[in-house]
């Protein structure tokens, strides 16, 4: 079923929501914290751990402060949108499902060249890695497809399959547009048509300046230390039902991770320090992962 008309940016999202909803996913909202990738949403990182089945799909605005180009570059954004699907355990026909989802948004695999190109994904800050591919459509990477092997430094079983669609890239392709700011955000026929630039260009300009030029690095470093101190405290605290506060602890790991990204974009982290920062975040994440698995196994 090939879409008859070209989809707007939001129609692509709505179409994917309908597709994955029909395949048993819970459709979630973006996580309400600053994150660098859809993977970091607790619906992926934490839910990929432990024995319980889980299927979810959501859009995640992903902030990459170092990639900011002040709205001047037609291909690079400091915040872009990932459409994230997590299927645990991965179904045997996951590739076929993924390809069918591409067809619903107008990419006909009989006319376009769809390839699964080796890419071993890893996210060192959350101690996660997996094997899979970049998916290419006519030479453009449109998705990342991964079978998680470890998360938070722990082996996972069952294995989750993760799909990450680059929504802007897909939209550029589907709409045949060269500049991200020219993408149709909603239906061009609608009474109040908006382009991607109408919605996000000003954000790119202001946040690029903030993240790369104005962010107060001393404050960021202080806050990083605060987060680092808080996470173990939260893990050692319990709710009224006696559960360790893993979810709030993980929120603060995410905050630490974003603070690190801001410091990096400000050029405040020497090359030699990078590994140490990443290692510290990974260790915090690992503590959360261990606590989460314990909780999940107890409740399984």
């Amino acid at each position: 079923m090939t879409a008859s008309k070209v989809l707007s940016f939001q129609d692509i999202i709505l179409t994917l929501h309908a597709f994955w909803s029909a395949r048993g996913c819970v459709i979630l909202q973006p996580y309400d914290l600053e994150v660098g990738a859809g993977t970091l949403h607790p619906a992926t990182v934490l839910r990929a751990l432990g024995p319980k089945p889980w299927r979810a799909a959501y859009v995640q605005p992903s902030r990459r402060p170092s990639d900011g180009r002040h709205g001047d570059n037609p291909n690079r954004l400091r915040q872009f949108h990932q459409y994230q699907v997590i299927l645990k355990p991965n179904p045997p026909d996951m590739q076929a499902l993924y390809l069918a989802s591409l067809e619903t948004i107008g990419i006909d695999p009989k006319l376009h060249d769809i390839r699964f190109v080796e890419d071993d994904w890893e996210n060192p800050t959350v101690g996660a890695w997996g094997l899979g591919w970049e998916v290419w459509c006519d030479g453009m990477e449109v998705s990342q497809y991964t079978y998680f092997q470890q998360v938070g430094g722990l082996d996972v079983s069952p294995v989750s399959g993760e799909l990450t669609y680059g929504l802007e890239r897909l939209a550029l392709y589907v709409q045949g547009v060269d500049n991200v700011y020219d993408l149709a955000f909603n239906d061009p026929q609608s009474p109040d048509f908006k382009t991607y630039g109408d919605v996000f260009l000003e954000n790119e300009r202001q946040f690029s300046a903030f993240e790369q030029e104005q962010a107060d690095t001393d404050m960021l470093i202080r806050q990083f230390h605060d987060m680092e101190a808080l996470v173990p405290k939260l893990l050692a605290s319990v709710s009224r039902r006696g559960q360790p506060l893993v979810l709030p602890a993980f929120d603060h790991v995410l905050k630490a991770s974003h603070l690190f990204n801001l410091l990096d974009a400000r050029g405040a982290i020497a090359v030699a320090e990078r590994q140490s920062y990443i290692g510290r975040i990974r260790d915090l994440c690992r503590e959360c992962a261990l606590a989460w698995v314990k909780l999940e196994e107890a409740g399984a």
Binding site: P91, K110, E118, G130, D178
Partner: protein, 670 residues
């Protein structure tokens, strides 16, 4: 004779692993069949994006029947021991035979059918397959490179039944992911498998896929009067990325050709896996070849256009980096190198550049380069590491710096040295020949070697994480190919490093290089033992020595040397050798002859050595051959007269010393 056919059908296998997987499958299958005493006439494996296949022809129906004898307890051993033996063999006491006081059981082992053996072997091969990286999926425990979906296994046209982690073997396979009917089809033999795959748009054999790509790509180029730029590595890779490889020509804006051709080619190759296309004069043409995996109904027009858009976006980025980078001279980037760690224990890239600069300046005049130019090239050689372009294309380090240097109007020899100082990077790349480049290339490599040796990071076995062996081989090739006279000690002395272990390391590398060129490595040892650190001279000696030892004189003199050595060593074990100088004896004639020959030979050898004419030195030594032979024939070394014995031993010592001026012959084998 019956045939075995196996197909392991999975999700997309990384292209770089396919060839290795096919060879591993062949090796494992041959091992397991061999161990089961099943012989075959042909065994071949094939790998592609979604399948690993194996065909074995000419297998027997079953193993041969065998009779096996097992040794039991001694006759008269306790009853319990005999009972245990009977239990383990399943025989009765009257079935046993007695030989030399021991019970033996004779067991008939009927051969198993090849299909049965196969059903045991394949699960072993699959579960122990040596993928460089493997994974689990779903809720299963099996490891494979990517999820394994089905297994086809036929012996003599019939399914060999077995299951691996829930996957039951069968006789079905699938064709292309998108083209054709996309229904599983039944297979009965290898020939049918191969042709049916082809009619389902899958080319089984990687070599056939390569041929298809080359033919299609060349034809597409020829239609436009253009030429495909051959690239074997890329061909290998793209042949592993498509089951139905379909080359298509795409276009690019000719304005992009104002970028350096290396940048355009790298963008096409490493990011997009496109082949470059050249015009009749060998210049890059504004087109590319992409190898798609489908034949689309529109002839590939959409695919070619889509790829062209992606390439344009990438080249636009590259042009942006190019123009941004050019706004800052290389010299101003040195500061940023302080932020680039070379190695935790070895400081920053900035410090390394300082060392390379000093070393390049120190050795410049020895290699015929202007010291100032060498120093200035060394200082700028690493500046491109902090440009946006090298950030995006790390493989263009050096090349990018060379372009920027030329654009800034830096001296040509300096710019060339920046560009080429990483050379030679592989056996097929020639060593640099321009003097300034030689100075920087040597300094760069020697600094790497000295620095890592100074912190104990030396290569061990197959581990050489800092590629020190390649660096050393590069040095050796630069020195030899340019006939440089540059002793290693001189280079070490120009640094703050002590160079401990470096000499032996170079001896090893030189041995490898000379062995690859067909030289005997024992000769390299024999020459290196003299402690000479001038690589060119070492090689000249080795060459002369090899020629000499191939001659009759050489062989005999070596034998005489060994004989003299044996005698001296045997005497030395009894007590210290006499510390006397040989004198001209009254007789016998053979002893006098050897004394005279030595007197005559020594100055000739020294004269030849002074002129580094090793062939002449060796032919001077060859004059010793006849007198030495006569000496051994006619003189008793171990004379009962002590003075005679001492003089004879002294003569032999002098023969050994004279020869030792050329090489340590005791290390020469044969």
């Amino acid at each position: 004779m019956p045939q075995l056919l196996l197909e392991l059908f999975s999700e997309e296998i990384p292209a770089r692993m396919q060839n290795g997987a096919a060879r591993d499958l062949e090796r494992l299958a041959a091992d397991h069949l061999g161990r089961a005493e099943l012989t075959c006439q042909r065994l071949a494996a094939f790998a592609g994006p979604r399948r690993l296949s194996l065909v074995v022809d000419g297998l027997p129906e079953r193993q041969l029947d065998r009779t096996e004898e097992r040794k039991g307890p001694r006759v008269g051993a306790p009853e319990a021991a005999l009972a245990g033996f009977l239990r383990s063999t399943g025989l009765m006491r009257e079935d046993l035979i007695q030989r030399e006081g021991v019970w033996f059981a004779r067991l008939d082992r009927p051969g198993r059918s090849t299909a049965e053996v196969t059903a045991d072997i394949v699960p072993l091969i699959v579960s122990g397959f040596p993928w460089p990286k493997s994974m689990t999926w779903g809720a299963g425990a099996l490891r494979w490179v990517r999820p394994l979906h089905s297994i086809l296994c036929l012996f003599d046209g019939h399914v060999v039944e077995f299951g691996i982690d829930g996957i039951q073997s069968g006789d079905l396979t699938e064709g292309h992911r998108f083209m054709g009917p996309q229904r599983p089809f039944r297979v009965t033999s290898f020939d049918g498998y191969r042709t049916d795959l082809e009619s389902h748009f899958v080319v089984l054999d990687a070599d056939d896929r390569k041929r298809r790509i080359l033919a299609g790509a060349r034809a597409a180029c020829a239609r436009r009067g253009l030429v495909l730029v051959d690239d074997d590595g890329l061909l290998e890779e793209v042949a592993g990325m498509a089951e139905w490889p379909t080359p298509l020509m795409g276009d690019m804006d000719p304005a992009f050709l104002s970028l350096p051709p290396e940048v355009v080619r790298t963008t096409m190759r490493s990011h997009q896996r496109y082949f470059a296309v050249a015009d009749g004069e060998g210049r890059l043409a504004p087109h590319f070849i992409v190898v798609a995996n489908i034949e689309a109904a529109d002839g590939g027009a959409l695919i070619a256009a889509g790829n062209a858009r992606v390439l344009a976006a990438r080249l636009t980025d590259a042009r942006f980096f190019w123009s941004e980078d050019l706004k800052r001279p290389l010299e101003t980037r040195l500061e940023a190198l302080k932020g680039v760690t070379f190695h935790a224990k070895l400081g920053s890239m900035f410090e390394r550049v300082g060392r390379i600069e000093a070393l390049a300046r120190a050795i410049a005049s020895s290699v015929g380069a202007d010291p100032e130019k060498a120093a200035s090239a060394a200082r700028l050689a690493k500046a491109d590491l902090v440009t946006a372009m090298v950030g995006e294309f790390p493989e263009l380090q050096g090349i990018v710096g060379g372009y920027y240097a030329r654009a800034e109007g830096v001296d040509r020899a300096v710019a060339d040295a920046i560009r080429d100082h990483y050379r030679p990077q592989g056996p097929s790349e020639p060593a640099p020949t321009a003097p300034v480049t030689i100075a920087v290339a040597l300094a760069d490599k020697m600094d790497t070697i000295f620095a890592f040796f100074s912190i104990g990071e030396t290569p061990t076995g197959s581990r050489d994480p800092f590629a020190l062996r390649r660096a050393a081989l590069g040095v050796v090739r630069i020195v030899l190919d340019n006939g440089l006279r540059l002793p290693l000690g001189e280079m070490i002395a120009a640094t703050r490093f002590d160079g401990a272990g470096v000499m032996a390391f170079f001896a090893e590398r030189l041995k490898v290089l000379l062995r690859d060129r067909g030289a005997r490595h024992d000769l390299v040892d024999a020459v290196f033992a003299l402690g000479d650190d001038d690589l060119a001279r070492v090689v000249a000696r080795v060459d002369a020595l090899a020629a000499f030892l191939a001659s009759d004189d050489g062989t005999n003199l070596l034998a005489a040397y060994k004989r003299a050595g044996n005698i001296l060593n045997a005497e030395a074990r009894k007590g210290a050798l006499p510390q006397v100088q040989a004198r001209r004896p009254g007789g016998p004639a053979a002893e006098v002859g050897l004394f005279d020959a030595l007197q005559d030979c020594r100055p000739r050898v020294e004269k030849a050595l002074a002129g580094e004419d090793f062939a002449a030195a060796l032919s001077a030594l060859a004059r010793l051959r006849a007198p030495v032979d006569a000496f051994f024939d006619g003189v008793l070394v171990n004379s009962p007269v002590a003075a005679e014995r001492d003089n004879r031993l002294a003569l032999l010592t002098e023969v050994r010393e004279a020869m030792g001026r050329l090489a340590d012959f005791s290390l020469v084998s044969g």
